[in-house]
């Protein structure tokens, strides 16, 4: 039996009816068409499905959509400020922090969680924070360089 789900996604309120077994990532991708959030391992290991729920980075493949009922979700589609990219996105471009791009939306949303919590993380803190996000292309160094640049205020005007 479908149940009512109220969710605010990227500032937009939604009211929909879902099967209780529907995962948050499935609602975002299949119901709302927000396919920027990726399904990767589907076992909370790879981080590709990372979104921010009520201000916290979480793995949307391992949360029932109904558990987010009444909550506020921010996905990669909502990260930019209108036509202006967020500082983290800008830094990823400038530092070449991706190749295939599959991990990127999850990586950016994890980074968003980190920088909201701690705007000036150390390299060590950056590494620890993104250790739940797997990237098989970059070897992480370019990602860490990008986040270090944001942390050091290189993109201050963009934040």
């Amino acid at each position: 039996m479908k149940q009512e789900l109220k969710l605010t996604v990227n500032g937009q309120p939604y009211e929909l009816y879902v099967n209780p077994k529907t995962l948050l990532v499935e609602v975002l991708r299949d119901e709302l068409g927000l396919t920027g959030t990726k399904r990767g391992c589907e076992s909370a290991s790879c981080g590709a499905c990372t979104v921010n729920l009520n201000g916290m980075a979480v793995k949307s493949c391992t949360i029932l959509a109904l558990q987010a009922n009444g909550g506020e979700v921010l996905t990669i589609e909502g990260l930019a400020h209108g036509t202006e990219l967020d500082a983290i996105q800008k830094a990823f471009l400038d530092y070449g922090a991706f190749q295939c791009g599959f991990c990127t939306s999850g990586m950016l949303m994890a980074a968003k969680g980190l920088l909201d919590e701690n705007p000036t993380p150390t390299t060590e803190e950056i590494k620890e924070y993104i250790d739940g996000n797997v990237c098989r292309c970059t070897g992480y160094n370019s990602i860490i360089r990008a986040l270090n640049a944001v942390a050091k205020g290189e993109y201050k005007e963009k934040r």
Binding site: P20, A44, M56, A57, V58, L64, A110, Y129, D131, G132
Partner: protein, 291 residues
Amino acid sequence: MIRDFEYLSPKTLEQALTLLDKYRDECKVIAGGQSLLVLMRHGLVAPQYLVDIKGLTELNYIKSDAKAGLRIGALTTHRAIELSPAMKNGFSILAEMEHRLASVQTRNWGTIGGNVCHAEPAGDPTPVLIALKATLTTAGLKGKRNMPVENFCVDFFETALQPGELLVEIQVPPAPPHTGTGYTKFNIIECDQATVGVAVSMTLDSGKETCKDCRIVLGACAPTPIRSKRAEEVLRGKKITSDLLKEAGQIASQEAEPISDISASEEYRRELVQVLVARVGSQALARAKQG
């Protein structure tokens, strides 16, 4: 593929217990679901009713008292414990352990009670709680029960919870003077679970030389986290030296009952126990001397 179930979200503990009492074996409790949903996706758990307790704010708290110690509500997230200012002095090991538990995303949503009730033998919190002599409280419609965390895990993924019961609180007593606790796990990927986990607590006498009491707890070495009581005996009442810690490690390695699986062979796990007991033991000793 997750099988269909009926989703129930009680608003109070009382409502939750009533539902658990009604549906018993037909229902499963979900808190953060960070372990359960993975099992459900593999079809290993397929409940008819899913009782979602994540929203029970009355079980989400950390209370700290100098005399009584810590009381942690079952629905407190790992991340809340990791960042709590109450995790100081003897309790800082809990924050340290949580910091290395899975990924930050999992810690943001997963709860300590859910982790303990999942009873995965490689879980991080239970060995540390046992080393800290923690107790817990379960609730059912018939009332509450208290027990040492040590007695809670009864088998692989199996706890002492009776049908209709819920874990509601974990209590961590204040550590006696000159007590130090350490925990570490060996894993190949940083945010993975333990291949072997070892927690050691050590209490020294007033001269800070002799071991008055200690606990050595092994994770991922048996169907449940286990205390290596023979290894503890080696240390108790003695002046702790690195040779003695090595001996305790050897004995713990014999006492462990690890299996071979994809992460490590039995032999490798025994080797890890030997090394980690000595290593964590010396960390606990150093901390006990400071305290």
